[in-house]
Symmetry: D2
Subunit: 155 residues, 4 copies
Protein backbone atom coordinates (compact mmCIF):
# COMPACT_ATOMS: atom_id res chain seq x y z
CA UNK A 1 0.00 0.00 0.00
CA UNK A 2 1.17 3.49 -0.73
CA UNK A 3 2.29 5.70 2.05
CA UNK A 4 -0.31 8.32 1.19
CA UNK A 5 -3.17 5.86 1.48
CA UNK A 6 -1.87 4.75 4.83
CA UNK A 7 -1.98 8.28 6.13
CA UNK A 8 -5.38 8.71 4.65
CA UNK A 9 -6.60 5.63 6.50
CA UNK A 10 -5.14 6.90 9.74
CA UNK A 11 -6.88 10.18 9.14
CA UNK A 12 -10.11 8.33 8.50
CA UNK A 13 -9.54 6.32 11.65
CA UNK A 14 -9.19 9.57 13.54
CA UNK A 15 -12.49 10.75 12.18
CA UNK A 16 -14.27 7.65 13.35
CA UNK A 17 -15.01 8.52 16.94
CA UNK A 18 -17.71 10.26 18.88
CA UNK A 19 -16.97 13.14 21.19
CA UNK A 20 -18.94 15.67 23.19
CA UNK A 21 -18.10 18.40 25.68
CA UNK A 22 -19.76 19.82 28.75
CA UNK A 23 -18.78 22.29 31.45
CA UNK A 24 -18.69 21.79 35.23
CA UNK A 25 -17.79 24.37 37.83
CA UNK A 26 -15.72 23.13 40.80
CA UNK A 27 -17.75 23.30 44.02
CA UNK A 28 -16.31 24.33 47.38
CA UNK A 29 -17.32 21.02 48.89
CA UNK A 30 -15.32 19.23 46.21
CA UNK A 31 -12.05 20.89 47.16
CA UNK A 32 -9.77 19.47 49.84
CA UNK A 33 -7.44 21.20 52.25
CA UNK A 34 -4.71 21.38 49.60
CA UNK A 35 -7.13 23.70 47.81
CA UNK A 36 -7.52 21.25 44.92
CA UNK A 37 -10.46 19.34 43.52
CA UNK A 38 -10.17 16.11 45.54
CA UNK A 39 -8.76 13.28 43.42
CA UNK A 40 -11.75 11.06 44.12
CA UNK A 41 -14.33 13.50 42.81
CA UNK A 42 -13.03 13.44 39.23
CA UNK A 43 -15.10 10.27 38.85
CA UNK A 44 -18.21 12.45 39.22
CA UNK A 45 -16.94 14.74 36.47
CA UNK A 46 -16.33 11.75 34.19
CA UNK A 47 -19.87 10.58 35.01
CA UNK A 48 -21.41 13.93 34.11
CA UNK A 49 -19.32 13.97 30.93
CA UNK A 50 -20.58 10.51 29.94
CA UNK A 51 -24.20 11.40 30.73
CA UNK A 52 -24.04 14.57 28.65
CA UNK A 53 -22.29 12.75 25.79
CA UNK A 54 -25.19 10.27 25.71
CA UNK A 55 -27.73 13.09 25.99
CA UNK A 56 -26.13 14.79 22.99
CA UNK A 57 -26.86 11.59 21.04
CA UNK A 58 -30.56 12.09 21.70
CA UNK A 59 -30.80 9.49 24.45
CA UNK A 60 -30.30 9.62 28.20
CA UNK A 61 -28.57 7.28 30.58
CA UNK A 62 -31.75 7.43 32.64
CA UNK A 63 -33.76 6.06 29.72
CA UNK A 64 -31.26 3.25 29.22
CA UNK A 65 -31.76 2.33 32.85
CA UNK A 66 -35.53 2.48 32.45
CA UNK A 67 -35.16 0.01 29.55
CA UNK A 68 -33.67 -2.36 32.10
CA UNK A 69 -29.98 -1.86 31.36
CA UNK A 70 -27.55 -0.92 34.11
CA UNK A 71 -24.05 0.25 33.31
CA UNK A 72 -21.72 -0.35 36.23
CA UNK A 73 -18.13 0.83 35.88
CA UNK A 74 -15.66 -2.05 35.85
CA UNK A 75 -12.45 -0.12 35.34
CA UNK A 76 -11.21 3.42 35.77
CA UNK A 77 -7.84 4.97 35.04
CA UNK A 78 -7.04 8.56 35.92
CA UNK A 79 -4.00 10.74 35.32
CA UNK A 80 -3.75 14.01 37.21
CA UNK A 81 -1.57 16.58 35.46
CA UNK A 82 -2.58 19.90 37.04
CA UNK A 83 -4.92 20.62 39.92
CA UNK A 84 -8.44 21.90 39.31
CA UNK A 85 -9.21 24.76 41.70
CA UNK A 86 -12.33 26.06 43.39
CA UNK A 87 -14.68 27.88 41.01
CA UNK A 88 -12.72 26.76 37.93
CA UNK A 89 -15.05 26.19 35.02
CA UNK A 90 -13.86 22.82 33.75
CA UNK A 91 -14.45 21.66 30.20
CA UNK A 92 -15.00 17.93 30.14
CA UNK A 93 -14.42 16.33 26.75
CA UNK A 94 -15.79 12.79 26.51
CA UNK A 95 -14.75 10.54 23.67
CA UNK A 96 -15.87 7.11 22.48
CA UNK A 97 -12.99 5.83 20.36
CA UNK A 98 -14.39 2.53 19.23
CA UNK A 99 -17.63 0.69 18.90
CA UNK A 100 -16.89 -2.73 20.33
CA UNK A 101 -18.81 -5.92 19.83
CA UNK A 102 -18.20 -6.77 23.49
CA UNK A 103 -20.86 -6.08 26.17
CA UNK A 104 -19.00 -2.97 27.23
CA UNK A 105 -18.19 0.60 26.28
CA UNK A 106 -15.17 2.73 27.00
CA UNK A 107 -15.20 6.47 27.55
CA UNK A 108 -12.13 8.69 27.43
CA UNK A 109 -12.36 11.89 29.42
CA UNK A 110 -10.20 14.98 29.13
CA UNK A 111 -10.55 17.88 31.55
CA UNK A 112 -9.38 21.38 30.69
CA UNK A 113 -9.43 24.61 32.68
CA UNK A 114 -10.41 28.01 31.30
CA UNK A 115 -6.86 28.65 30.06
CA UNK A 116 -7.19 25.49 27.96
CA UNK A 117 -4.65 23.61 30.06
CA UNK A 118 -5.11 19.85 30.24
CA UNK A 119 -5.73 18.98 33.90
CA UNK A 120 -6.70 15.37 33.83
CA UNK A 121 -7.27 12.37 31.62
CA UNK A 122 -9.47 9.46 32.54
CA UNK A 123 -10.69 6.25 30.98
CA UNK A 124 -13.75 4.44 32.29
CA UNK A 125 -15.02 1.09 31.09
CA UNK A 126 -18.67 0.25 31.70
CA UNK A 127 -20.46 -3.03 31.09
CA UNK A 128 -24.06 -3.43 30.03
CA UNK A 129 -25.99 -5.53 32.51
CA UNK A 130 -29.58 -6.72 32.29
CA UNK A 131 -31.06 -5.37 35.53
CA UNK A 132 -33.39 -8.33 36.01
CA UNK A 133 -31.20 -11.21 34.90
CA UNK A 134 -28.04 -9.65 36.37
CA UNK A 135 -26.23 -10.79 33.22
CA UNK A 136 -24.00 -8.96 30.81
CA UNK A 137 -25.74 -8.06 27.59
CA UNK A 138 -24.64 -6.40 24.40
CA UNK A 139 -24.97 -2.68 23.85
CA UNK A 140 -28.65 -1.65 23.73
CA UNK A 141 -29.72 -1.23 20.12
CA UNK A 142 -30.94 2.31 20.78
CA UNK A 143 -27.48 3.39 21.88
CA UNK A 144 -25.83 1.48 19.03
CA UNK A 145 -28.06 3.19 16.51
CA UNK A 146 -27.04 6.57 17.83
CA UNK A 147 -23.32 5.82 17.89
CA UNK A 148 -23.09 3.84 14.62
CA UNK A 149 -23.03 6.85 12.25
CA UNK A 150 -19.87 8.16 13.94
CA UNK A 151 -18.01 4.94 13.22
CA UNK A 152 -18.99 4.20 9.67
CA UNK A 153 -16.29 3.72 7.09
CA UNK A 154 -16.65 5.93 4.09
CA UNK A 155 -16.12 4.35 0.70
CA UNK B 1 -46.76 18.18 94.60
CA UNK B 2 -43.61 18.51 96.62
CA UNK B 3 -40.61 20.14 95.15
CA UNK B 4 -38.47 17.08 95.75
CA UNK B 5 -40.81 14.86 93.78
CA UNK B 6 -40.77 17.33 90.92
CA UNK B 7 -37.02 17.15 90.72
CA UNK B 8 -37.20 13.41 90.94
CA UNK B 9 -39.58 13.34 87.98
CA UNK B 10 -37.28 15.59 85.98
CA UNK B 11 -34.43 13.26 86.82
CA UNK B 12 -36.55 10.33 85.70
CA UNK B 13 -37.42 12.18 82.54
CA UNK B 14 -33.75 12.65 81.89
CA UNK B 15 -33.20 8.94 82.23
CA UNK B 16 -35.84 8.13 79.68
CA UNK B 17 -33.89 8.42 76.48
CA UNK B 18 -31.71 6.23 74.36
CA UNK B 19 -28.20 7.23 73.39
CA UNK B 20 -25.22 5.61 71.70
CA UNK B 21 -21.81 6.79 70.56
CA UNK B 22 -19.52 5.93 67.69
CA UNK B 23 -16.27 7.32 66.35
CA UNK B 24 -15.49 8.61 62.86
CA UNK B 25 -12.16 9.89 61.59
CA UNK B 26 -12.28 12.89 59.24
CA UNK B 27 -11.14 11.93 55.74
CA UNK B 28 -8.99 14.13 53.53
CA UNK B 29 -11.66 14.12 50.85
CA UNK B 30 -14.17 15.45 53.37
CA UNK B 31 -12.16 18.59 54.09
CA UNK B 32 -12.53 21.74 52.01
CA UNK B 33 -10.02 24.44 51.15
CA UNK B 34 -10.64 26.18 54.47
CA UNK B 35 -9.11 23.03 55.97
CA UNK B 36 -12.40 22.15 57.70
CA UNK B 37 -14.77 19.22 57.42
CA UNK B 38 -17.15 20.55 54.72
CA UNK B 39 -20.46 21.65 56.23
CA UNK B 40 -22.43 19.35 53.96
CA UNK B 41 -20.65 16.17 55.02
CA UNK B 42 -21.85 16.34 58.63
CA UNK B 43 -25.05 14.71 57.34
CA UNK B 44 -22.98 11.59 56.63
CA UNK B 45 -21.67 11.64 60.20
CA UNK B 46 -25.22 11.95 61.54
CA UNK B 47 -26.19 9.02 59.29
CA UNK B 48 -23.37 6.82 60.59
CA UNK B 49 -24.30 7.82 64.15
CA UNK B 50 -27.94 6.83 63.57
CA UNK B 51 -26.99 3.53 61.93
CA UNK B 52 -24.66 2.60 64.81
CA UNK B 53 -27.26 3.65 67.40
CA UNK B 54 -29.74 1.24 65.76
CA UNK B 55 -27.07 -1.47 65.51
CA UNK B 56 -26.39 -1.10 69.25
CA UNK B 57 -30.07 -1.92 69.80
CA UNK B 58 -29.54 -5.29 68.13
CA UNK B 59 -31.08 -4.32 64.80
CA UNK B 60 -29.71 -2.74 61.64
CA UNK B 61 -31.07 -0.05 59.39
CA UNK B 62 -30.35 -2.45 56.54
CA UNK B 63 -32.69 -5.04 58.08
CA UNK B 64 -35.41 -2.42 58.51
CA UNK B 65 -35.10 -1.68 54.82
CA UNK B 66 -35.24 -5.37 53.97
CA UNK B 67 -38.50 -5.56 55.95
CA UNK B 68 -39.85 -3.04 53.47
CA UNK B 69 -39.49 0.15 55.49
CA UNK B 70 -37.59 3.11 54.12
CA UNK B 71 -36.64 6.01 56.33
CA UNK B 72 -36.15 9.19 54.31
CA UNK B 73 -35.02 12.29 56.16
CA UNK B 74 -37.67 15.04 56.14
CA UNK B 75 -35.90 17.63 58.25
CA UNK B 76 -32.36 18.44 59.33
CA UNK B 77 -31.02 21.18 61.56
CA UNK B 78 -27.32 21.67 62.10
CA UNK B 79 -25.35 24.05 64.28
CA UNK B 80 -21.63 24.40 63.66
CA UNK B 81 -19.70 25.58 66.72
CA UNK B 82 -16.10 24.64 65.98
CA UNK B 83 -14.54 23.17 62.84
CA UNK B 84 -13.66 19.49 62.61
CA UNK B 85 -10.21 19.08 61.08
CA UNK B 86 -8.55 16.46 58.92
CA UNK B 87 -7.70 13.28 60.82
CA UNK B 88 -9.69 14.36 63.89
CA UNK B 89 -11.28 11.37 65.56
CA UNK B 90 -14.82 12.58 66.07
CA UNK B 91 -17.11 11.12 68.71
CA UNK B 92 -20.67 11.11 67.46
CA UNK B 93 -23.27 10.85 70.20
CA UNK B 94 -26.73 9.99 68.92
CA UNK B 95 -29.77 10.44 71.13
CA UNK B 96 -33.43 9.50 70.81
CA UNK B 97 -35.22 11.76 73.28
CA UNK B 98 -38.77 10.57 72.84
CA UNK B 99 -40.72 7.67 71.49
CA UNK B 100 -43.45 9.27 69.43
CA UNK B 101 -46.70 7.77 68.27
CA UNK B 102 -46.28 9.57 64.96
CA UNK B 103 -44.84 7.78 61.88
CA UNK B 104 -41.48 9.41 62.49
CA UNK B 105 -38.40 9.38 64.67
CA UNK B 106 -36.06 12.16 65.67
CA UNK B 107 -32.33 11.75 66.29
CA UNK B 108 -30.18 14.31 68.07
CA UNK B 109 -26.50 14.24 67.17
CA UNK B 110 -23.61 15.76 69.08
CA UNK B 111 -20.09 15.74 67.67
CA UNK B 112 -17.03 16.10 69.86
CA UNK B 113 -13.33 16.19 69.02
CA UNK B 114 -10.62 14.36 70.96
CA UNK B 115 -10.29 17.24 73.44
CA UNK B 116 -13.97 16.76 74.27
CA UNK B 117 -14.96 20.05 72.66
CA UNK B 118 -18.46 20.20 71.21
CA UNK B 119 -18.10 20.83 67.48
CA UNK B 120 -21.57 20.41 66.14
CA UNK B 121 -25.14 19.63 67.03
CA UNK B 122 -27.67 18.23 64.61
CA UNK B 123 -31.26 17.07 64.64
CA UNK B 124 -32.64 14.84 61.91
CA UNK B 125 -36.24 13.75 61.56
CA UNK B 126 -36.97 10.61 59.56
CA UNK B 127 -40.33 9.21 58.53
CA UNK B 128 -41.19 5.54 58.18
CA UNK B 129 -42.41 4.77 54.68
CA UNK B 130 -43.74 1.49 53.33
CA UNK B 131 -41.46 0.87 50.35
CA UNK B 132 -44.19 -0.76 48.26
CA UNK B 133 -47.18 1.38 49.12
CA UNK B 134 -45.12 4.57 49.32
CA UNK B 135 -47.15 5.51 52.38
CA UNK B 136 -46.15 6.64 55.83
CA UNK B 137 -46.42 3.87 58.41
CA UNK B 138 -45.87 3.73 62.13
CA UNK B 139 -42.54 2.73 63.62
CA UNK B 140 -41.75 -0.92 62.82
CA UNK B 141 -42.59 -3.10 65.83
CA UNK B 142 -39.07 -4.55 65.89
CA UNK B 143 -37.56 -1.11 66.37
CA UNK B 144 -40.23 -0.14 68.89
CA UNK B 145 -39.54 -3.27 70.93
CA UNK B 146 -35.87 -2.37 71.09
CA UNK B 147 -36.42 1.27 72.06
CA UNK B 148 -39.35 0.78 74.48
CA UNK B 149 -37.29 -0.31 77.50
CA UNK B 150 -35.39 2.99 77.43
CA UNK B 151 -38.59 4.98 77.73
CA UNK B 152 -40.49 3.08 80.34
CA UNK B 153 -41.70 4.86 83.43
CA UNK B 154 -40.58 3.23 86.61
CA UNK B 155 -43.14 2.82 89.38
CA UNK C 1 -52.22 54.00 59.80
CA UNK C 2 -54.57 53.12 57.01
CA UNK C 3 -55.02 49.56 56.02
CA UNK C 4 -54.04 50.29 52.44
CA UNK C 5 -50.69 51.79 53.47
CA UNK C 6 -49.99 48.80 55.62
CA UNK C 7 -50.44 46.49 52.70
CA UNK C 8 -48.35 48.78 50.61
CA UNK C 9 -45.55 48.58 53.15
CA UNK C 10 -45.77 44.82 53.23
CA UNK C 11 -45.59 44.82 49.48
CA UNK C 12 -42.55 47.07 49.65
CA UNK C 13 -41.02 44.80 52.24
CA UNK C 14 -41.53 41.93 49.84
CA UNK C 15 -39.69 43.82 47.16
CA UNK C 16 -36.71 44.45 49.35
CA UNK C 17 -34.79 41.23 48.88
CA UNK C 18 -32.25 39.83 46.53
CA UNK C 19 -32.82 36.58 44.69
CA UNK C 20 -31.13 34.60 41.96
CA UNK C 21 -31.65 31.21 40.34
CA UNK C 22 -29.38 28.57 38.90
CA UNK C 23 -29.86 25.04 37.61
CA UNK C 24 -28.14 21.84 38.74
CA UNK C 25 -28.62 18.38 37.30
CA UNK C 26 -28.67 15.50 39.81
CA UNK C 27 -25.62 13.25 39.35
CA UNK C 28 -25.73 9.48 39.63
CA UNK C 29 -23.15 9.56 42.40
CA UNK C 30 -25.41 11.88 44.38
CA UNK C 31 -28.29 9.41 44.49
CA UNK C 32 -28.57 6.79 47.20
CA UNK C 33 -30.06 3.31 47.09
CA UNK C 34 -33.56 4.71 47.65
CA UNK C 35 -33.05 6.31 44.24
CA UNK C 36 -33.18 9.81 45.74
CA UNK C 37 -30.69 12.65 45.91
CA UNK C 38 -29.01 11.84 49.26
CA UNK C 39 -30.18 14.20 52.00
CA UNK C 40 -26.64 15.29 52.79
CA UNK C 41 -25.84 16.47 49.29
CA UNK C 42 -28.45 19.24 49.28
CA UNK C 43 -25.85 21.30 51.12
CA UNK C 44 -23.78 21.25 47.93
CA UNK C 45 -26.79 22.52 45.97
CA UNK C 46 -27.31 25.33 48.47
CA UNK C 47 -23.59 26.16 48.13
CA UNK C 48 -23.78 26.32 44.33
CA UNK C 49 -26.92 28.46 44.65
CA UNK C 50 -25.16 30.89 46.99
CA UNK C 51 -22.06 31.08 44.78
CA UNK C 52 -24.12 31.80 41.68
CA UNK C 53 -26.23 34.37 43.55
CA UNK C 54 -23.03 36.22 44.48
CA UNK C 55 -21.67 35.86 40.93
CA UNK C 56 -24.88 37.43 39.59
CA UNK C 57 -24.07 40.45 41.77
CA UNK C 58 -20.82 40.91 39.85
CA UNK C 59 -18.60 39.43 42.53
CA UNK C 60 -17.43 35.89 43.29
CA UNK C 61 -17.11 34.01 46.50
CA UNK C 62 -13.59 33.16 45.37
CA UNK C 63 -12.72 36.86 45.20
CA UNK C 64 -14.13 37.43 48.69
CA UNK C 65 -11.83 34.68 49.92
CA UNK C 66 -8.88 36.20 48.10
CA UNK C 67 -9.64 39.49 49.92
CA UNK C 68 -9.03 37.52 53.12
CA UNK C 69 -12.62 36.83 54.15
CA UNK C 70 -13.77 33.29 54.83
CA UNK C 71 -17.45 32.46 55.17
CA UNK C 72 -17.95 29.31 57.22
CA UNK C 73 -21.51 28.07 57.65
CA UNK C 74 -22.66 28.26 61.26
CA UNK C 75 -26.20 27.02 60.85
CA UNK C 76 -28.23 25.05 58.33
CA UNK C 77 -31.88 24.08 58.30
CA UNK C 78 -33.33 21.85 55.61
CA UNK C 79 -36.85 20.66 54.89
CA UNK C 80 -37.32 17.82 52.44
CA UNK C 81 -40.74 17.80 50.80
CA UNK C 82 -40.30 15.62 47.71
CA UNK C 83 -37.31 13.60 46.54
CA UNK C 84 -35.04 14.85 43.79
CA UNK C 85 -34.29 12.05 41.34
CA UNK C 86 -31.35 11.13 39.13
CA UNK C 87 -31.00 13.39 36.10
CA UNK C 88 -33.62 15.85 37.39
CA UNK C 89 -32.72 19.38 36.39
CA UNK C 90 -33.17 21.22 39.67
CA UNK C 91 -33.84 24.95 39.82
CA UNK C 92 -32.17 26.42 42.88
CA UNK C 93 -33.60 29.77 43.95
CA UNK C 94 -31.41 31.60 46.44
CA UNK C 95 -32.77 34.53 48.40
CA UNK C 96 -31.24 37.10 50.74
CA UNK C 97 -34.15 38.46 52.73
CA UNK C 98 -32.40 41.02 54.86
CA UNK C 99 -29.21 42.97 55.03
CA UNK C 100 -28.10 42.60 58.62
CA UNK C 101 -25.68 44.74 60.53
CA UNK C 102 -24.33 41.60 62.19
CA UNK C 103 -21.16 39.86 60.89
CA UNK C 104 -23.28 37.27 59.14
CA UNK C 105 -25.51 36.66 56.16
CA UNK C 106 -28.45 34.33 55.71
CA UNK C 107 -29.40 32.60 52.47
CA UNK C 108 -32.76 30.97 51.82
CA UNK C 109 -32.75 28.21 49.23
CA UNK C 110 -35.69 26.74 47.37
CA UNK C 111 -35.30 23.75 45.09
CA UNK C 112 -37.80 22.96 42.35
CA UNK C 113 -37.94 20.14 39.81
CA UNK C 114 -38.82 20.54 36.13
CA UNK C 115 -42.54 20.28 36.89
CA UNK C 116 -42.16 23.30 39.18
CA UNK C 117 -42.77 21.23 42.30
CA UNK C 118 -41.08 22.48 45.45
CA UNK C 119 -38.70 19.74 46.61
CA UNK C 120 -36.73 21.32 49.37
CA UNK C 121 -36.23 24.46 51.39
CA UNK C 122 -33.04 25.33 53.17
CA UNK C 123 -31.65 28.18 55.21
CA UNK C 124 -27.91 28.61 55.73
CA UNK C 125 -26.27 31.21 57.92
CA UNK C 126 -22.66 32.13 57.21
CA UNK C 127 -20.37 34.35 59.23
CA UNK C 128 -17.66 36.61 57.85
CA UNK C 129 -14.28 35.73 59.29
CA UNK C 130 -10.97 37.49 58.76
CA UNK C 131 -8.77 34.65 57.50
CA UNK C 132 -5.63 35.98 59.20
CA UNK C 133 -7.03 37.20 62.51
CA UNK C 134 -9.55 34.37 62.75
CA UNK C 135 -12.06 36.92 63.99
CA UNK C 136 -15.57 37.74 62.92
CA UNK C 137 -15.77 40.85 60.80
CA UNK C 138 -18.64 42.76 59.24
CA UNK C 139 -19.80 42.10 55.72
CA UNK C 140 -17.09 43.07 53.20
CA UNK C 141 -17.87 46.48 51.73
CA UNK C 142 -17.72 45.11 48.17
CA UNK C 143 -20.50 42.64 48.90
CA UNK C 144 -22.52 45.27 50.81
CA UNK C 145 -22.28 47.66 47.89
CA UNK C 146 -23.67 45.01 45.58
CA UNK C 147 -26.54 44.02 47.86
CA UNK C 148 -27.51 47.50 49.12
CA UNK C 149 -29.54 48.55 46.07
CA UNK C 150 -31.90 45.60 46.57
CA UNK C 151 -32.72 46.71 50.09
CA UNK C 152 -33.18 50.40 49.70
CA UNK C 153 -36.41 51.95 50.84
CA UNK C 154 -38.12 53.96 48.22
CA UNK C 155 -39.51 57.32 49.21
CA UNK D 1 22.60 -19.61 40.02
CA UNK D 2 20.76 -22.63 41.31
CA UNK D 3 17.07 -22.90 40.83
CA UNK D 4 16.48 -23.22 44.57
CA UNK D 5 18.23 -19.94 45.28
CA UNK D 6 16.18 -18.22 42.62
CA UNK D 7 13.00 -19.32 44.31
CA UNK D 8 14.39 -18.29 47.62
CA UNK D 9 15.09 -14.83 46.26
CA UNK D 10 11.58 -14.58 44.88
CA UNK D 11 10.29 -15.61 48.26
CA UNK D 12 12.47 -12.97 49.85
CA UNK D 13 11.25 -10.46 47.31
CA UNK D 14 7.73 -11.32 48.33
CA UNK D 15 8.59 -10.66 51.92
CA UNK D 16 9.95 -7.25 51.14
CA UNK D 17 6.82 -5.20 51.18
CA UNK D 18 4.78 -3.33 53.70
CA UNK D 19 1.08 -3.96 54.17
CA UNK D 20 -1.64 -2.90 56.60
CA UNK D 21 -5.38 -3.40 56.84
CA UNK D 22 -8.27 -1.31 58.08
CA UNK D 23 -12.03 -1.65 58.02
CA UNK D 24 -14.61 0.75 56.61
CA UNK D 25 -18.38 0.36 56.69
CA UNK D 26 -20.27 1.47 53.58
CA UNK D 27 -22.43 4.51 54.32
CA UNK D 28 -25.91 5.04 52.89
CA UNK D 29 -24.82 8.29 51.29
CA UNK D 30 -22.06 6.43 49.47
CA UNK D 31 -24.45 4.09 47.69
CA UNK D 32 -26.06 5.00 44.38
CA UNK D 33 -29.42 4.06 42.93
CA UNK D 34 -28.04 0.73 41.69
CA UNK D 35 -27.65 -0.05 45.40
CA UNK D 36 -23.86 -0.21 45.06
CA UNK D 37 -21.03 1.79 46.58
CA UNK D 38 -20.63 4.50 43.91
CA UNK D 39 -17.54 3.89 41.77
CA UNK D 40 -16.12 7.30 42.55
CA UNK D 41 -16.12 6.84 46.31
CA UNK D 42 -13.61 3.99 46.28
CA UNK D 43 -10.96 6.70 46.11
CA UNK D 44 -11.99 7.71 49.65
CA UNK D 45 -11.55 4.11 50.79
CA UNK D 46 -8.08 3.97 49.22
CA UNK D 47 -7.30 7.25 51.00
CA UNK D 48 -8.39 5.90 54.39
CA UNK D 49 -6.39 2.74 53.73
CA UNK D 50 -3.26 4.76 52.93
CA UNK D 51 -3.70 7.00 55.98
CA UNK D 52 -4.11 4.01 58.30
CA UNK D 53 -1.13 2.22 56.71
CA UNK D 54 1.02 5.27 57.49
CA UNK D 55 -0.44 5.52 61.00
CA UNK D 56 0.49 1.88 61.61
CA UNK D 57 4.07 2.87 60.85
CA UNK D 58 3.99 5.30 63.77
CA UNK D 59 3.55 8.42 61.66
CA UNK D 60 0.52 10.23 60.30
CA UNK D 61 -0.19 11.77 56.95
CA UNK D 62 -1.25 14.86 58.89
CA UNK D 63 2.23 15.12 60.43
CA UNK D 64 3.86 14.76 57.02
CA UNK D 65 1.76 17.68 55.85
CA UNK D 66 2.72 19.71 58.92
CA UNK D 67 6.38 19.07 58.02
CA UNK D 68 5.62 20.89 54.77
CA UNK D 69 5.16 17.91 52.46
CA UNK D 70 2.00 17.52 50.40
CA UNK D 71 1.20 14.28 48.64
CA UNK D 72 -1.11 14.86 45.68
CA UNK D 73 -2.27 11.81 43.74
CA UNK D 74 -0.95 11.78 40.17
CA UNK D 75 -2.37 8.48 39.00
CA UNK D 76 -5.14 6.09 40.00
CA UNK D 77 -6.19 2.77 38.54
CA UNK D 78 -9.23 0.92 39.80
CA UNK D 79 -10.73 -2.46 38.92
CA UNK D 80 -14.24 -3.23 40.10
CA UNK D 81 -14.92 -6.96 40.44
CA UNK D 82 -17.97 -7.15 42.70
CA UNK D 83 -20.16 -4.41 44.13
CA UNK D 84 -19.80 -3.26 47.72
CA UNK D 85 -23.23 -2.90 49.31
CA UNK D 86 -24.71 -0.66 51.98
CA UNK D 87 -23.58 -1.55 55.48
CA UNK D 88 -20.91 -3.98 54.20
CA UNK D 89 -17.89 -3.94 56.46
CA UNK D 90 -15.08 -3.64 53.94
CA UNK D 91 -11.54 -4.75 54.71
CA UNK D 92 -9.08 -2.46 52.97
CA UNK D 93 -5.62 -3.95 52.54
CA UNK D 94 -2.99 -1.41 51.59
CA UNK D 95 0.37 -2.52 50.26
CA UNK D 96 3.62 -0.72 49.45
CA UNK D 97 5.48 -3.08 47.11
CA UNK D 98 8.65 -1.13 46.57
CA UNK D 99 10.66 1.67 48.05
CA UNK D 100 11.54 3.83 45.09
CA UNK D 101 14.27 6.41 44.82
CA UNK D 102 11.90 8.60 42.84
CA UNK D 103 9.93 11.45 44.49
CA UNK D 104 6.83 9.29 44.61
CA UNK D 105 5.21 6.36 46.34
CA UNK D 106 2.75 3.79 45.07
CA UNK D 107 0.02 2.16 47.14
CA UNK D 108 -1.86 -0.97 46.12
CA UNK D 109 -5.31 -1.34 47.62
CA UNK D 110 -7.42 -4.48 47.86
CA UNK D 111 -10.98 -4.38 49.14
CA UNK D 112 -12.73 -7.44 50.52
CA UNK D 113 -16.23 -7.94 51.89
CA UNK D 114 -17.09 -9.93 55.02
CA UNK D 115 -17.21 -13.18 53.04
CA UNK D 116 -13.61 -12.56 52.04
CA UNK D 117 -14.54 -11.91 48.41
CA UNK D 118 -12.28 -9.54 46.51
CA UNK D 119 -14.39 -6.57 45.45
CA UNK D 120 -11.92 -4.10 44.10
CA UNK D 121 -8.27 -3.47 43.41
CA UNK D 122 -6.74 -0.04 43.13
CA UNK D 123 -3.33 1.49 42.62
CA UNK D 124 -2.62 5.10 43.52
CA UNK D 125 0.61 6.96 42.86
CA UNK D 126 1.38 10.01 44.98
CA UNK D 127 4.22 12.47 44.59
CA UNK D 128 5.99 14.29 47.42
CA UNK D 129 5.76 18.04 46.97
CA UNK D 130 7.37 20.75 49.06
CA UNK D 131 4.36 22.85 50.08
CA UNK D 132 6.29 26.14 49.99
CA UNK D 133 8.49 25.64 46.95
CA UNK D 134 5.79 23.74 45.03
CA UNK D 135 8.52 21.37 43.86
CA UNK D 136 8.80 17.61 43.91
CA UNK D 137 11.04 16.35 46.67
CA UNK D 138 12.24 12.93 47.70
CA UNK D 139 10.39 10.85 50.27
CA UNK D 140 10.57 12.53 53.71
CA UNK D 141 13.28 10.87 55.80
CA UNK D 142 10.80 10.14 58.62
CA UNK D 143 8.62 8.08 56.30
CA UNK D 144 11.65 6.40 54.73
CA UNK D 145 12.96 5.41 58.14
CA UNK D 146 9.65 3.77 58.97
CA UNK D 147 9.36 1.89 55.68
CA UNK D 148 13.02 0.88 55.28
CA UNK D 149 12.96 -2.12 57.66
CA UNK D 150 10.25 -3.77 55.54
CA UNK D 151 12.43 -3.64 52.44
CA UNK D 152 15.77 -4.68 53.79
CA UNK D 153 17.59 -7.60 52.22
CA UNK D 154 18.56 -10.21 54.71
CA UNK D 155 22.08 -11.58 54.50
Amino acid sequence: MHRASQWYLLYQEHLRMYSATTKIRVRYGETDQMGFLYYGFYALYYEVGRAEAIRDLGLTYKELEEMGVMMPVVEMHAHYYRPALYDDLITVKTIVKELQDAPKIQFHSELYNEKGELLNKGVTTLVFVDAKEKKKVSMPQQLKNCLQPYFEKEN
